[in-house]
């Protein structure tokens, strides 16, 4: 049971910082890796050591196993934490770590093999008696075969990347006319995200809820679940808001799903933190969707209601400790997480990389900001647009919603556009408040969520403030011009524009 003394975090952004925070609290040294686009990133500044692993594209840096291992050796790291995404679900990387004598903080390669390819996972789950969504058992080789299968089971169908999760390489096909373009898009995204373009087909369930169970296993076969997370607020199969407990789960259903999730994990000899994702239909039948063999983005909500530090647990399990519990702790209160993206919901969620000129994060009781950025940081255009996760806790769901809305109202980000207002729109929507929202919610209610409605009093206040702002800056400029007539040459630029530039 060797203590881990130095961990290389093979990731970037908020999750790299989050893992390092726990390492620091445990007295474990940290090593960052970074691409050329991330020289100024927060994870590089947070780590004790940092090594360059290549140019901006992930495939040439964060996904290059040899470079990561080389950095680990150079730094003398005895373990690697993969975060989520990148190499976190790559069994060959786990084997490479083993070979290099470096502890991989995650499940064994065999469990990843069993769950990593989603088609193989489905076969394994069927064997273990876990209910799965109807669909192909294997990735499909050609678009013609795929088309034929889709026609057989009937649209809507889901095209899914066999090699990974997180909404990448996933397409819903509603009309057969769109089949070919969706197929190509799914394959190309899958290749980009996971280096593997295998795609398979599942029947699309109507109005399903996405509910997932957090599982944890030690090296001695002890496997428990830590309850569920409701993740049905999705856009393009990308989670936007997550919460626990799920508003649609009864204690009985929770127990049943938890039991199945533990069975699934045990079936593949799982070790560490993992998540078994299910779809729950309108009749509250649930089907295995996939297992994410790593830490999830949304793990903070589970931490809030259990009081645990899942990253600390991952490290302890990797060191060979036994799980401190033998069964799921009863969830305490309610937690909601919202993902803050650098994107403009009003313009079809167009990404908005760029310099963060000003940043004020919310404070006060029972909230948590997991961020990978800082004021003055330039968000690069190369990676995922998620810049922060805001999560809150409260005794009840209703209070948690109000707290999250209050926190979002305090969030100020300048220089880039974020989805903060859109998130508030989700939390204020009656369907969300009521609790029974399915995975079609965000798409279906898109217009309402954008919150086009304006408060005339606030519009008037904005207008008055704008005029005062322009006036004050013009006055200031006039003074400057008198003092330094040479600046007069800039008269071509509108004073407003010039003024706000100075305002920075």
């Amino acid at each position: 049971m060797a203590k881990i003394r130095k961990i290389l975090v093979a990731n970037r952004g908020e999750i790299a910082v989050r893992v390092m925070r726990t390492c620091k609290e445990l007295g474990i040294a940290t090593v960052a890796v970074y691409s050329e686009a991330d020289r100024s990133a927060l994870h590089v500044r947070t780590a004790d050591q940092a090594f360059l692993v290549g140019p901006p594209p992930s495939r040439e840096s964060y996904l290059v196993q040899e470079r990561i291992l080389e950095a680990a050796k150079k730094a003398g790291a005895d373990a690697i934490h993969p975060g989520y995404g990148f190499l976190s679900e790559n069994a060959s990387f786990v084997r490479a770590c083993e070979k290099a004598g470096i502890t991989f903080i995650g499940p064994p390669a065999s469990a990843m093999d069993a769950m990593g390819e989603k088609t193989r996972a489905r076969q394994n789950m069927i064997k273990a008696g876990v209910p799965v969504v109807p669909g192909t058992a294997e990735p499909i080789a050609t678009v013609e075969e795929a088309r034929a299968y889709a026609e057989k089971i009937g649209v809507p169908v889901m095209l899914k990347a066999a090699g990974g999760g997180g909404g990448k390489g996933m397409r819903k096909v509603e009309r057969m006319e769109d089949f070919e373009s969706s197929w190509r898009a799914a394959k190309s995204e899958a290749m980009n995200a996971f280096g593997n373009d295998a795609v398979y087909i599942e029947k699309y369930l109507e109005k399903p809820h996405h509910v997932e169970i957090q599982v944890f296993a030690d090296q001695y076969g002890n496997t428990i679940h830590l309850n569920e997370r409701e993740c049905s607020a999705q856009r393009r199969h990308q989670k936007v808001v997550e919460e626990t407990p799920s508003p649609i789960l009864t204690p009985e259903l929770r127990a049943k799903m938890g039991e199945v999730a533990v069975k699934a994990a045990k079936a593949v000899g799982y070790v560490g933190a993992g998540t078994v994702e299910f779809l729950v239909d309108v009749h509250r039948n649930f089907y295995f969707l996939e297992m994410n063999t790593r830490l999830q983005v949304e793990h903070p909500v589970t931490e809030w209601v259990t009081g645990l530090d899942l990253v600390a647990w991952q490290i302890k399990v990797a060191e060979g400790e036994k799980l401190p519990y033998t069964e799921a702790p009863t969830p305490n209160g309610h937690s909601i997480e919202v993902r803050v993206y650098a994107e403009d919901p009003a313009r079809n969620f167009m990404p908005s990389p760029g310099r963060i000129n000003y940043l004020r994060v919310p404070g006060g009781p029972y909230l948590r900001d997991d961020s990978g950025v800082f004021p003055g940081y330039t968000v690069p255009n190369t990676y995922d647009p998620m810049i922060s996760k805001l999560s809150v806790w409260a005794p009840t769901r209703r209070e948690a919603i109000e707290r999250a809305k209050r926190a979002l109202a305090e969030y100020v980000v300048k220089g880039i556009t974020t989805n903060v207002r859109y998130l508030k729109g989700i939390l204020s929507h009656p369907e969300f408040v009521e609790g029974d929202y399915d995975t079609s919610f965000l798409t279906r209610e898109h217009e309402t969520l954008l919150g086009k409605g304006e408060d005339p009093q606030l519009t008037e206040a904005s207008l008055l403030a704008s005029v005062v702002y322009a006036y004050q800056r013009d006055q200031k400029k006039a003074k400057t011009l008198t003092q330094a007539p040479s600046e007069g040459g800039k008269g071509g630029i509108s004073a407003w524009r010039l003024a706000s530039r100075r305002g920075r």
Binding site: K168, N192, A193, A342, E343, R347, N348, F349, M350, P351, S352, P353, G354, N357, Y358, N381, T382, Y383, D384, P385, L408, A409, V412, K414, G415, I416, T417, R421, K424, E454, D455, L458, T459, E460, A461, S462, L463, L464, A465, S466, V467, V468, Y469, A470, Y471, Q472, D474, S494, A495, W496, R497, S500, R501, G503, R504
Partner: protein
């Protein structure tokens, strides 16, 4: 002094008169109503505004070509000019939405697809160019019906924010 303020989505700029009325105080007349406003400019483009005891924490943010004004979670895009500048802009069509339309890169990224050719007739809302940034593909659409008169966008090239991609007339 008279300013003209134009809210995004509105055709016309509305006149607002402003006069200083003591330290950080202003008398504003808008739409026939007069307001005595206590407006304190803070750093980083923030203004604390009190109108008749009501407190508005206003945040200004300039991004690309726009100024966004946020108050209590409501974001409004507002353009302000004084009389001389308003005339100037009217002349250069800066305040108008007619005429030649330049479609430029709304963010730094990569041109992954050009969907039109020089000289093509396009409809309003038709896709012109696909840009990839932050692992997301975004299709830029034509703001009006017209003809592609310039096409600097090249597939596979990286573009900076505001780089000219297509001109539709």
């Amino acid at each position: 002094m008279r300013y003209f303020a134009k809210l995004q989505g509105q055709k016309e700029a509305v006149p607002v008169d402003i006069e200083p009325a003591g330290e950080n105080r202003f008398k504003l007349t808008h739409n026939g109503k007069t307001f005595l406003v206590d407006a304190l400019a803070l750093d980083h483009g923030a203004v604390s505004m009190l109108v008749d005891g009501t407190s508005y924490s206003v945040e200004f943010d300039e991004q690309g070509d726009e100024v966004q004004v946020s108050v209590r979670g409501q974001v409004t895009r507002i353009d302000v000019a004084d009389e001389r500048r308003l005339r100037l802009r009217a002349a250069t069509a800066g305040f108008s939405v007619e005429g030649k339309q330049v479609i430029s890169a709304p963010m730094p990224g990569k041109v992954v697809k050009v969907l039109v050719k020089q000289g093509d007739e396009v409809k309003e809302g038709q896709g012109l160019v696909v840009i990839e940034a932050m692992k997301m593909e975004n299709e830029l659409k034509s703001p009006k019906a017209g003809k592609v008169v310039e096409l600097p966008a090249k597939e596979g090239t990286a573009v900076e924010i505001n780089a000219k991609l297509v001109v539709v007339e």
